[in-house]
């Protein structure tokens, strides 16, 4: 039995794997996922995807700046902090577009374009999250799912 909402959310994991394989010619390794009862303290660059419909909440893609810089250099692009943030949004858009193919019409996704258009969680917030660690060339990025409510 595979639950619809969970299946939809899982498509983000598959889409992220697909993105890295296609864009970097290197597989990303998915580590053991974890359910934490606290939003993880995040020191990397984040891009936010808003979910509405079947599930309301967020998918957050975070990566350390060094990892984003490596990705940008491989594409012969500038590596300023603004460039890194822009690139993370592009990555989130590509992953979301890909995921949409599996989502159907019940789950809507929208990449947040402006900082401030998403909640600012801190490590003090007690919000259960699903964290999928992803290792790419010794850098660890995280795909974090934060669901506020779900249609069962």
């Amino acid at each position: 039995m595979l639950l619809t909402a969970e299946q939809a959310l899982h498509s983000f994991v598959e889409s992220t794997k697909h993105y890295f394989k296609k864009e970097t010619w290197a597989n990303i390794r998915i580590e053991d996922a974890a359910v934490q009862l606290q939003y993880p303290f995040d020191s990397g660059i984040c891009s936010w995807v808003k979910l509405t419909g079947l599930a309301n909440g967020w998918v957050i893609l975070s990566a350390p700046q060094e990892m984003v810089e490596v990705l940008l250099r491989e594409k012969n692009r500038a590596v300023s902090e603004i460039d890194c943030r822009e690139f993370m949004k592009e990555m989130a858009e590509a992953i979301s577009e890909n995921a949409k193919k599996d989502l159907g019409t019940d789950l809507n996704v929208e990449v947040v374009q402006q900082d401030g258009d998403h909640p600012n969680f801190s490590d003090d917030d007690e919000l259960p999250v699903f964290v999928v660690p992803m290792v790419w060339r010794n850098h660890q990025a995280n795909l974090v799912m934060l669901i506020e409510n779900l249609s069962v």
């Binding site: 969970e6 899982h10 974890a34 359910v35 934490q36 009862l37 606290q38 779900l150 069962v152």
Partner: protein, 238 residues
Amino acid sequence: MDIRTVLQATAVSQEHLQSLQMKRWQWSAYFALDGVKTIGELASRLGQNDDGAVEMAKMFLETGIAEEAPISMSGFLTTQGSDAKKAVETVNLTAFLTDRTMEDVASEESDQKPESESKPKPEPESEQEPKAAELELPLEEPKEDAPPEPIALSEHTISKMSLNSVIQFILQETGNPIAVYTTFLMVPSDLLKKNEIEHLPMAQEAFEVLIYDAELQEAIKQAVKQKLAKNIPDTVFK
């Protein structure tokens, strides 16, 4: 102090921290203090023995960068394994055998103070004389024709829910780790927090977490039933 001690970092200034000199593994342990892991666990993960754990904890306390973390009974039972389990079952059995509630027993145990504090000292002149009531107590022979009632232990033993088994059950049923997350979204976070559960043991080889709190057990049962349309199996209870 022993290796089961649990510490949490105190609020200290950056200047104070920067003034300290510690070994690399001790800094690693300091930044991993979470008020849940015992100093033994932390030291062990960093390749240190029990003596190293205690030495480290003493230094943390002496320098004021950490303090002993208080722990609730349910948190203790969830994290401390079989010794704690035996302790609870002893209290429970005592309550059953004496026809008192667990709360009565716990209350009486906590009320026990050193004799000098809890009882007035006897008058000097009567100190050497045994009380009459003690002398007159008849010694009853056990009656062979009246065996004691069998004790239905199973009804009075606290059932323990294995959180790991619940998670493995959800994974078996759904094949999707996200279902574990969405199931536990239906369990009140404050109940999990009360039981000092900060993350769910997803891996099969994860350290076993036992839940003694009946309210949390019930919340998990209901969440699983709602999500999977199935009752939680009895095998998750130990």
